[in-house]
């Protein structure tokens, strides 16, 4: 199919007609920016074929705002050697005319729906029954005419075209098709689906039930078999127990044990009898031995008596000897004591005398001293008394002269004050100087005055001038009067003071004060002297003197007495005059000596007494022992005793031998082991009996259990289960066989069908492969049963890479979309079907390299098919070897 002319009028943006003429049979390139009408041309082409001329949906084609327009499309094209002219107009002028003129043949004209249907059959699409034509109606053109941005979406448009493509493929290889293959596949699938799941082929439905029943029964069978096994085991156990029980009942095994027990008991009793005898024998041996011991002791007693007598004799001799020795010591000690006593007496007298002498000498010394003392004391007393008298005199004088310092001071002060006042008075007093002619007298204040002199007038002074009269001079000023008064008062006070002291003047007072002091001093000197004479006072001195005199008298008396005594002692005195101390010392030494000797003597006497006592005791003991020895019949007794001992020892030996033999018997019989035997047999018997009873109980239990189990009809049940299991197995196996057969059948059918499909698709695959290898080095693409491109395999960086169509990038999908369409077109072309390829702004997502390849592919395709390529990127398509048609130009030309 080759379009040669397109005329579009009153169609959307083409309000006026445009005409594209002289279309090339191969590639036609239309360029123009957006909105210049590229898509409108494509729409118009679609409208010409797909839309019924009567369709109301053609409203869409009307130019905007032109209500009366009649959109129309006129197409001239060639196909199969015939020229077609299609005129289709909508809305205002609803028409469809198709004119077909073959080479030299008659011209056919088809109108209206007939024309439309003819075209639909020819190109392979459908019309919509109602409303606007949709993608599902577009069939082959829908696949080959790629609108903007849909080139990558092969699947949908392919779905609507598959039927047409299949007819093309089918007619090509009709000889391998099966008349009812797909129907068989569907039935096998259904039948298989009843037994196996579609996806994983696992048992399902009745098959699964059958398997489940089989497995369940198998399990039951196993369980029952186990129960039966247990039952049988129990039956065997029962038999074993019964046998044992009966055997025991027939001949109870514990009876043996009891017999053995009794035998052991008897033997034990025997041995115990022997043991008893042994015990008695032992007691007897002990008794005999005791008797022997007693006899021996008795004999020992006799021997001991003899020994005692001997030793007593020796002891007596010894005691006597000792006594003699002790007694010999007493006499010398007594002599020495007498001697020492005499010496002591002499010493005592000597000492007494010495003491008398000493006393007298002492009294003499005291007497002399006392005499001296009395003499001195008498003198001292006399001088002290004299001194005391002196002191008293001075003190008396001092008392008469007594003036206190205070009084003196006051006197001195008063005198000074008076004098001072006088001076002041004289200083300020009216001085009355007179110089009287000899003999002349005047009276001043009543006193006659002569000569010269002066007076100080401190007060009104009456001056009587004899003969003349009387003058009264009154000193001026109050002060003088006051001062005069003060002076007077001071004079009065002084006078009063002096009067109080009974003195005439201050000087007298001073003299008296000096005298007083002197008297005091003298009194003090006298007192000090007195003190020296009699420090304790005169009375003490006097008392001392009195005492000394008394003592002197006593001493004198003692001397007298002593002299009388001394004269007595003096007679016996030996020449040596020992000092008292020597005499005393000697006396005490002798006393100690005397004491020591007395003690020694005493000791010696005691020893002698003691030894005497011993001698007496030894004598008594000796006598007693001797008496014992010489007792009548003693020797006979001793002899009998010895005889008795010999007999007893013989008896003991024989008794011991008997004990030995009994002991040997006992040891050999081992009563301890015999006891254990007894216990062992007893326990054995008990245990056997107990075991017997336990077994009897177990038997009863087992019997009951088995009865119960038997009543369950286990084996019959097993047989039933086995029967059911066999059936279930058969059923399961039948289904398994059926499932396997169906599975095999389905697999085979599908495989064969797939092989066939592959055969059918071979031409399409070939075409596709041709393009793919241009685009992708070593590339190859599968086709699925829907003829859809499947997995793309191609050389990659890691060797051969493969990816499903849907996993490819948008660009790659677009490219594959375009080339698969080209392949479909090739297939259609081979079947003699019309092909027209329209690409509206396709491949905009391809990179330069791919675009270059795609251009080679498109160019190649264009050698077989007419290709209308619309683009708004003219620069991309400059190297296609055709002159692009600019749509803007077309419009203006229209």
């Amino acid at each position: 199919m080759k379009l040669s002319r397109i005329r579009i009028a009153q169609f959307r943006q083409f309000r006026d007609a445009i005409e594209i003429d002289g279309l090339a049979p191969g590639l036609n390139l239309f360029t123009g920016p957006n909105e210049t009408g590229k898509s409108t041309i494509v729409t118009a082409l679609r409208a010409a074929f797909f839309e019924r001329y009567r369709s109301n949906s053609a409203e869409d084609f009307r130019p905007w705002g032109d209500g009366s327009a009649a959109p129309s499309v006129t197409l001239d094209f060639e196909h199969g050697g015939e020229q077609y002219q299609l005129l289709k107009s909508f809305l205002g002028k609803k028409r469809c005319e198709l004119q077909i003129s073959g080479a030299g043949g008659p011209v056919r004209r088809l109108d209206g729906a007939e024309a439309e249907d003819h075209l639909a059959t020819l190109l392979g699409f459908q019309h919509a029954n109602k409303g606007a034509s949709k993608a599902e109606h577009w069939g082959i053109p829908g696949l080959l005419w790629m609108t903007q941005g849909t080139a990558q979406d092969v699947r949908e448009s392919l779905t609507h075209a598959t039927g047409y493509l299949r007819t093309v493929l089918g007619s090509a290889v009709s000889d391998v098709a099966s008349s009812h293959g797909d129907d068989i596949i569907a039935r096998v699938e259904r039948a298989r689906g009843e037994l196996l799941t579609a996806r994983s082929g696992k048992p399902t439905g009745r098959y699964l039930d059958a398997l489940a029943r089989r497995d369940q029964l198998t399990e039951s069978a196993t369980q029952v078999a186990a129960e039966i096994e247990e039952y049988r085991h129990k039956v065997d156990e029962l038999a074993r127990l019964q046998q044992a029980h009966e055997a025991d009942q027939a001949q109870p095994p514990w009876l043996d044990a009891r017999d053995q027990e009794r035998a052991a008991a008897r033997r034990l009793e025997d041995i115990q009898e022997i043991e008893r005898t042994l015990g008695e024998q032992r007691v007897r041996v002990t008794q005999i031995e005791e008797r022997a011991t007693l006899l021996r002791a008795q004999l020992d007693g006799y021997a001991k008596d003899t020994r005692t007598a001997d030793s007593r004799r020796a002891a007596l001799a010894e005691a006597r000897q000792a006594h003699e020795a002790a007694a010999a010591l007493v006499t010398p000690w007594r002599g020495r004591l007498d001697e020492t006593t005499r010496q002591h007496e002499a010493a005592r007298l000597g000492a007494q005398r010495a003491r008398l002498r000493e006393r007298r000498a002492e009294l003499d010394r005291e007497h002399a001293a006392l005499q001296a003392n009395v003499q001195a004391a008498t003198q001292s007393l006399a001088s002290a008394q004299a001194e005391q008298t002196r002191q008293q005199d001075h003190e008396r004088r001092a008392a008469a002269l007594h003036i206190t310092e205070q009084s003196l001071t006051a006197l001195r002060e008063q005198t000074r004050l008076q004098r001072e006042l006088e001076l002041r008075l004289s200083a300020i007093a009216t001085r009355l100087e007179f110089d009287l002619d000899d003999g002349r007298t005047i009276e001043i204040d009543g006193r006659t005055v002569q000569g010269s002199g002066e007076r100080q007038l401190a007060k009104a002074t009456a001056l009587t001038l004899p003969g003349v009269g009387r003058l009264t001079i009154t000193p001026g000023g109050a002060d003088l009067a006051a001062l005069r008064r003060q002076a007077d008062e001071a004079g009065e006070r002084l006078a009063s003071l002096l009067q109080g002291l009974d003195l005439a003047s201050l000087d007298a007072a001073e003299a008296r004060a000096r005298e007083y002091k002197l008297a005091l001093d003298e009194a003090k000197v006298a007192a000090a002297t007195l003190k020296g004479r009699a420090p304790q006072g005169i009375d003490a001195l006097r008392a001392q003197l009195a005492r000394d005199e008394a003592r002197l008298r006593e001493v004198e008396q003692a001397r007298v007495q002593l002299v009388q005594q001394g004269s007595d002692a003096e007679k016996q005195a030996d020449a040596s005059q020992l000092s008292t101390q020597e005499a005393e010392s000697r006396l005490s030494a002798l006393e100690r000596s005397l004491k020591q000797i007395g003690a020694d003597l005493h000791k010696a006497q005691l020893t002698a007494g003691d030894s005497q006592a011993r001698v007496d005791a030894a004598q008594r003991e000796h006598d007693a022992a001797q008496a014992l020895l010489s007792a009548p019949g003693r020797a006979e007794k001793e002899k009998a005793c010895q005889q008795s001992l010999d007999d007893t020892l013989a008896e003991a030996a024989s008794a011991r031998a008997r004990v030995e033999s009994l002991l040997a018997q006992v040891e050999q019989a081992r009563p301890d082991i015999l006891k254990q035997d007894l216990e062992r047999y007893r326990r054995s018997a008990e245990q056997l009996e107990q075991a017997f009873h336990q077994r009897r109980d177990a038997l009863m239990r087992l019997d009951v259990e088995l009865q119960a189990a038997g009543a369950r009809g286990l084996e019959e049940r097993q047989a039933e289960i086995a029967r059911d299991l066999a059936q279930a197995r058969r059923h399961a196996q039948e289904r398994t066989h059926r499932a396997e057969a169906l599975d095999r059948l389905l697999t085979l059918l599908r495989d064969k069908r797939a092989t066939l499909t592959a055969q059918l698709q071979a031409p399409l695959r070939q075409h596709l492969q041709r393009y793919v290898q241009l685009l992708f080095p070593q590339g190859s693409v599968d086709l699925d049963t829907d003829l859809m491109p499947g997995t793309l395999a191609r050389a990659g960086t890691m060797g051969l890479e493969s990816a499903a169509f849907d996993e490819l990038s948008f660009g790659a999908r677009e490219q594959l979309g375009v080339i698969s369409r080209l392949a479909y077109a090739d297939l259609l072309l081979e079947a003699g079907r019309p092909t027209l390829i329209i690409l509206d702004d396709a491949l905009v997502h391809s990179d330069d390299q791919r675009l270059a390849q795609m251009k080679r592919i498109l160019f190649d395709a264009a050698t077989r098919h007419q290709v209308l390529l619309f683009t708004c990127h003219p620069a991309n398509w400059r190297d296609m070897g055709v002159v692009p048609r600019a749509l803007e130009g077309l419009r203006t030309r229209g």
Partner: protein, 369 residues
């Protein structure tokens, strides 16, 4: 003259799991019915004594009702029944016999010999020497004691045992429960009634296996009968074999080579009656039509016969060209048929693979038909 009915191996309680459940139930029931039949036979023949030589029960722990039912089934004959335990119902410490006694199911005229000791009956006057099995299996000859057992003079000595007479089966079969050959003569028995083998068989003048009265397996032997034994003085016993069984068990083995072969098998199948129990073992090859017909005949036989077991495992389905043409299997379906045919043949066509291919082919053929 002493007239005895000798039987054994009743196998009461046996279920026939290999068959469909309704068939199995009938076969199991038949074992009771045959016992009833034996009782009637004994009454009709006015025998003096019935000997049951072991395996009365198929198992020790059958249901109580089974025990009751068995002893009810023999009620038609009121004379003495002497039974010994066999290997299936051995007289163990606890056994089906002790249970039967406990249940009070054993009628007075039934004597169960659980001990190896002589049983002397007054009516009829006879001495029974039983060799009851008291273990499930034994390698000792339980009849050993017969020779040494004294019985009252003049009384017939009749032995009863359950096991295999030595020297009859092939060498090397280590049969349990042995019975010495010539035991009857050696133990001065007038008759030795044996059980265990399901087919009736004479061992010597005085020794017989009675076989089971109702066949229970496909092994071809003289089963399904009982023995009427007449003892008269020292003469050898007269033994009459009476058929008692209801069901005929047959084994059909066929190798299909030519189309006519399948017709023979089908004829056999169509001639089956309600008394038949059949096992089919068919191999060889068969065309589609023959296969269809064979399967149909088997299904039909299942309806009539009391049990049909069919083993077609080694049968190969080989559609003829006509078959394939008739199926109109063109295109890839035709290829599938060809491959399935091929899969049944050739050196690798073994076992499961061949079976699966055959089944798949049959299924496909069924769908295409």
């Amino acid at each position: 003259m002493l007239k005895i009915l000798h039987t054994s191996d009743w196998q009461i309680g046996k279920l026939f799991g290999q068959f469909e459940s309704d068939d199995a139930a009938l076969l199991a029931d038949a074992r009771f019915q045959v016992v009833e039949g034996l009782a009637h036979l004994a009454r009709e023949e006015q025998v003096d004594l019935v000997l049951v030589a072991g395996d009365v029960f198929d198992a020790q722990t059958v249901a109580d009702r089974t025990i009751h039912r068995l002893f009810k089934a023999i009620s038609a004959y009121a004379g003495p029944w002497i039974m010994i335990p066999g290997n299936h119902d051995a007289g163990l410490a606890e056994s089906v016999w002790t249970r039967a006694r406990r249940l009070g199911a054993v009628p007075e005229n039934v004597t169960i010999c659980l001990r190896s000791e002589a049983l002397v009956l007054a009516r009829p006057a006879v001495a029974i020497l039983p060799a009851p099995m008291t273990q499930r299996n034994t390698y000792a000859d339980l009849t050993e004691w017969f020779a040494g057992a004294d019985t009252p003079a003049g009384l017939p000595r009749i032995g009863m045992a359950h096991g295999s007479v030595q020297g009859i089966l092939a060498e090397g079969i280590d049969s349990t429960n042995p019975i010495a050959a010539g035991r009857a003569a050696q133990a001065r028995l007038d008759y030795l009634a044996l059980g265990d083998w399901h087919g009736a068989r004479q061992i010597d003048d005085r020794t017989w296996y009675s076989g089971t009265p109702e066949t229970d397996r496909f092994r071809a032997n003289a089963s399904g009968c009982a023995l009427l034994v007449s003892l008269d003085g020292d003469a050898a016993p007269r033994v009459e074999m009476r058929s008692t069984g209801r069901y005929r068990w047959q084994s059909v083995v066929a190798t299909l080579r030519v189309p006519g072969d399948v017709d023979n098998v089908i004829n056999t199948l169509t001639s089956l009656t309600a008394q038949d129990v059949v096992t089919l073992e068919i191999d060889g090859q068969i065309d589609l039509d023959g296969h269809r017909r064979l399967l149909a005949a088997i299904e039909q036989a299942r309806g009539t016969a009391r049990g049909v077991l069919a083993d077609l495992g080694d049968l190969r389905l080989a559609p003829t060209q006509d078959d394939i043409d008739a199926l109109h299997a063109d295109g890839y379906v035709g290829e599938v048929i060809a491959e399935l045919r091929a899969a049944q043949e050739g050196p690798n066509a073994q076992g499961d693979e061949a079976r699966i291919a055959r089944d798949a082919l049959a299924l496909l053929a069924g769908m295409l038909a």
